[in-house]
């Protein structure tokens, strides 16, 4: 693994995820305020910000697990359709990793990874299984393939969740606080897989509190506060020379420990 500068491995700025003036309310609360964000192919965007700043909502809105009221979101040039088959097809191309893993509790690890390729992509069971085993090997849980999610540690479950998303061969992957529910000693095994994924050129939107990961793997850091994007910059610039008072205050609180 080499530390190729992010800009070098990026294909010439093809926008993959585009959000334009996206607004969303939870009742009275304005959780997304005029969000404009473009994620290019191969880019790793890390979204950080205080709790309740709307960063998880932003992540979930991109594949429409959350609805929004105004604005538009397009993935790979296609605007998000309403609920239905079209949306399901689009979601298949967008990987999602949740804070609470959400592995299918009644299916084995292997079945978790093969379900999507077989049901959505129409893959043959043997081919799906072979592909799944490759991915499970890649994330280091191949020897647990016949177990059930509840028998695995949190870190292992989250790595399986990443493999489950990868099995769909997504064009972009969304991570919604993937390490927030993990015991401290398991965080790194998940971050390692994510870093490896970032280096392999996967387009990623990562909501996280892991500043080390943001510094190491991000091409761009997006700082959110109170439902709005306050600042965007390279990790270098953001962590050493934040522009807004809100970001300085946030960094001051988390980086002094």
């Amino acid at each position: 693994m080499t530390d190729t500068p992010a800009a070098a491995r990026r294909t010439p700025d093809r926008p993959l995820v585009v959000l334009e003036n996206v607004n969303k309310h939870f009742g009275e609360l304005h959780v997304l305020k005029d969000i404009n964000l473009t994620v290019h192919e191969g880019e790793v965007v890390v979204v950080i910000g205080p709790s309740g700043s709307g960063k998880s909502t932003l992540c979930r809105t991109i594949n429409r697990l959350e609805t929004f009221e105004s604005g538009r979101i397009a993935i790979n040039g296609t605007e998000l359709p309403d609920e239905g088959k079209e949306l399901a097809r689009l979601r298949a191309d967008v990987g999602m990793v949740f804070q609470s893993f959400n592995l299918f509790a009644h299916k084995t690890i292997l079945e978790n990874v093969t379900l999507g390729p077989m049901k959505v992509r129409g893959m043959k069971p043997a081919a799906a299984k072979e592909h799944a085993m490759e991915l499970l090997t890649r994330v280091g849980v191949d020897h647990q393939a016949s177990k059930y999610p509840a028998q695995l540690s949190g870190g292992q479950q989250q790595r399986v969740a990443i493999a489950r998303s990868l099995a769909m061969e997504p064009t972009v992957m969304l991570f919604d606080e993937p390490t927030s529910a993990l015991d401290p000693e398991m965080i790194n095994e998940v971050l390692d897989v994510m870093t490896e994924l970032a280096r392999s050129g996967m387009t990623m939107v990562v909501v996280t509190h892991e500043m080390g990961f943001a510094r190491k793997a991000a091409d761009r850091v997006v700082f959110m506060s109170d439902g709005a994007i306050v600042e965007e910059n390279t990790p270098e610039q953001f962590f050493t020379n934040a522009q807004s008072a809100r970001a300085k205050d946030f960094l001051g609180k988390i980086l002094t420990h």
Binding site: R91, M96, F98, N102, A105, H106, G116, K119, A161, M168
Partner: protein
């Protein structure tokens, strides 16, 4: 005692009770699942349809539904779920009994489907929201996520309430005596009428018979609910 069982035809009566329960349970499970799917679907009209069914049927006495099956469904609307003729063209000597049996099954199924639906819905409530979100996020359509993720977990979470419905159904089969199905409760009435001296042992026998039917069901249900529970 033996001669009471024979004269009152209690064994064939219990056999009929078991048949009623099995058929009704099967149809109620299918119909109840369909109604539960209506109530879960992301379509307002279907939700309303499912909710209306449950509200209407659950709050109607079973006797009313069963009698309506006989007097309205068959008597007025002429829907005849049994054939008057055998395949070879001769008259069906069992026409009335199989007609009444099937009308009884229809009534029992309609009634218990409402409870099956609610049991399944309670099973759905045991599933964390994230399971459905994960299903959607890998691109499964709503029917696919129901079949692959939601319903398999819902049934496992609903075994205890479904078992309760099944046990209630076994006992509720006695109501179809009202439309001339010669099951156990019908035979009870025969004992009361023709062997009044044996009323006490008669009651005891029938009660015992139902305990023999439902007790193992209860044990099986609690065994299954533990064995099939989804570990989280």
């Amino acid at each position: 005692m033996i001669d009471l069982i024979e004269q009152a035809q209690l064994l064939p009566a219990f056999f009929l009770t078991i048949q009623l329960a099995l058929w009704s349970a099967a149809f109620a499970l299918i119909l109840g699942t369909v109604i539960a799917i209506l109530r879960l679907a992301p379509v307002g009209v279907l939700n309303a349809l499912g909710a209306s069914y449950v509200t209407l049927v659950r709050n109607t006495p079973l006797t009313l539904i069963v009698v309506a099956c006989s007097l309205v469904l068959w008597g007025q609307l002429g829907i005849e779920p049994a054939s008057r003729r055998l395949p070879d063209g001769s008259g069906n000597p069992d026409f009335i009994s199989s007609l009444n049996f099937r009308l009884g099954v229809i009534g029992l199924s309609i009634y218990h489907a409402a409870f099956v639906c609610e049991a399944i819905r309670s099973g759905v409530n045991t599933i964390p929201l994230g399971q459905a979100e994960a299903a959607r996020s890998i691109g499964l359509t709503f029917p696919q996520s129901l079949r692959e993720v939601i319903l398999p977990q819902a049934f496992r979470g609903a075994i205890t309430p479904l078992g309760n419905v099944l046990i209630a159904l076994v006992k509720n089969t006695t109501v179809v005596a009202a439309i001339g199905v010669f099951e156990t409760a019908y035979r009870m009435r025969w004992i009361a009428e023709f062997r009044p001296a044996d009323l006490m042992p008669g009651f005891a026998l029938v009660a015992l018979g139902f305990v023999i039917l439902t007790l193992p069901l209860g044990l099986l249900v609690s065994h299954l609910s533990q064995r099939l529970a989804v570990k989280r």
